[in-house]
Symmetry: C2
Subunit: 287 residues, 2 copies
């Protein structure tokens, strides 16, 4: 471990305990040679990156069952970072217990309330199991191990089981397998690498922006026209309230295209004519 | 009270204790002669209306600081009710204590975590006050009164103070006065009154719909064009994940117009050509 640290591992902040799905996403984005910096709240993740206490941050931005993580949209605006990559993680919930513990020994199951609510079929089939809400999925595995509980299990990622030396008793017990979370990798703008010059591998890129429209009829339609008229495909739109202007909104858009492409440059210039405020949040390979 | 009940007061479900901001909205929408039916969760509010245990329901749909109440958008789709009215309530947070309790006696302040977080300036000015998160704003006043606490206060609405016989020690201690919540009044479709035939008072109406687009480039732009081409003004757009189709979305739109107006009828027929699914959620006077 000490030797590894000398090679200056990248410090990567995320919300949750080691083994949380954000940690899984961080490894998916940056490989295993990172120094994970677990945080209690999303805001702390952003603060650590702003204070240069970490090199990068990984945040969830939307889930296919629950929708956007609106708090993180708000932080993306407040902290002026750059999205350098995206990835999506299939949320697989596993029933995890200490080594040597059998399924029949289990009385209670700890996990984050959202994870518990995503495994209702499993709990219906095993009504003897009591559900116990806990602050974190991976944290519930950590707690089992620390306390040596042999009549309880946790619901968490495979990474969490491996990390804390626990064992998976039942794999993939979630009700809906179309459960994916999309994550962003953020860096400070000054530290973001430039876009690769050419696009040799034919990789598709996406760009994320945020803007406000003038408060006039048809304003959003006209804003979207700057993309439609140039055949630029939108992949996501999200609206958030505009602070200080009740019933007006900020719009977050993701679209397919690179910032250095002519149609994208033209579309953003066109959008400036129509919007009071506009900011590019990042440009990154499609995950 | 017994006499009142005989006149068949409308039973109105809302989330929170009596005196909650949803109760304030219900009185704003229906007057004082209602029978409030407080519920613990939003889903319970919808269930009571579906089971005919109440005549109407009042739900918050968006707040100017926090954005949409996404859970209620999901319930609006699942339960096939009709929006018959909207209203907005200015969220005024008051410091409330038992009669005879002075400000200097107070050590702890109970309220819902969101309310506590909206009065940070007040707590900075009075660092001696400990913040204690509680499940409900009005519920914290109720608890003070029930337990007879004389060294504590609650943060809640003026209605809550009056209802539980408590006293307002400091009015309007919220940080941001541009704090409004918009509420919908829902009825079962069969019980919704018809739209007033003519529009004599020149009242402006709004219509709310939900739809999905075909998953093709420019689909949302084309969907919005059916309104823009007919000068129909959108007032709100909200996207929610489409269950079972990862990274596809449902769109909720509010626009200015009545369902019986020619341009609105044409726009909705036009939208049907472009969407896989479309449902009108209600048509109601602009609040």
């Amino acid at each position: 471990m000490a030797r590894r640290l000398k090679t200056k591992l990248e410090r990567v902040a995320f919300q949750g305990e080691p083994g949380a799905f954000s940690h899984v996403a961080a490894r998916q984005l940056l490989g295993d040679k990172i120094q994970p910096v677990p945080c209690q709240h999303f805001e702390e993740v952003f603060q650590l990156l702003a204070r240069r206490e970490v090199d990068a941050a990984v945040i969830p931005i939307e889930n296919t069952l629950h929708g956007s993580v609106h708090e993180n949209y708000d932080h993306l605006l407040r902290y002026n970072f750059w999205i350098v990559a995206e990835t999506s993680v299939r949320i697989i919930h596993n029933l995890i217990a200490l080594p040597g513990v059998a399924f029949r020994d289990i009385r209670r199951v700890y996990s984050h309330p959202v994870a518990l609510s995503q495994c209702l079929r499993f709990f219906r089939e095993h009504p003897q199991l009591e559900r116990v809400p806990f602050y974190d999925t991976a944290g519930s595995v950590k707690m089992l191990v620390e306390k040596g509980l042999r009549d309880a299990a946790a619901i968490a990622s495979e990474d969490a089981a491996r990390l804390y030396g626990a064992r998976i008793l039942r794999r993939s017990i979630e009700d809906d397998r179309r459960n994916y979370t999309r994550f962003f990798l953020l860096r400070r703008r000054a530290d973001a690498p430039p876009l690769p010059r050419s696009n040799r591998q034919g990789r598709v890129f996406k760009t994320s922006i945020v803007f406000t429209t003038r408060n006039v009829p048809g304003a959003l339609f006209r804003a979207l026209s700057v993309f439609a008229l140039r055949d630029i495909n939108l992949t996501k739109i999200e609206s958030r309230p505009l602070r200080g202007k009740p019933w007006e909104y900020l719009f977050y858009l993701d679209f397919v295209g690179r910032l250095d492409e002519e149609p994208v440059r033209n579309a953003l210039r066109h959008l400036q004519e129509l919007s009071d405020f506009q900011r590019v949040l990042g440009c990154y390979p499609k995950g």
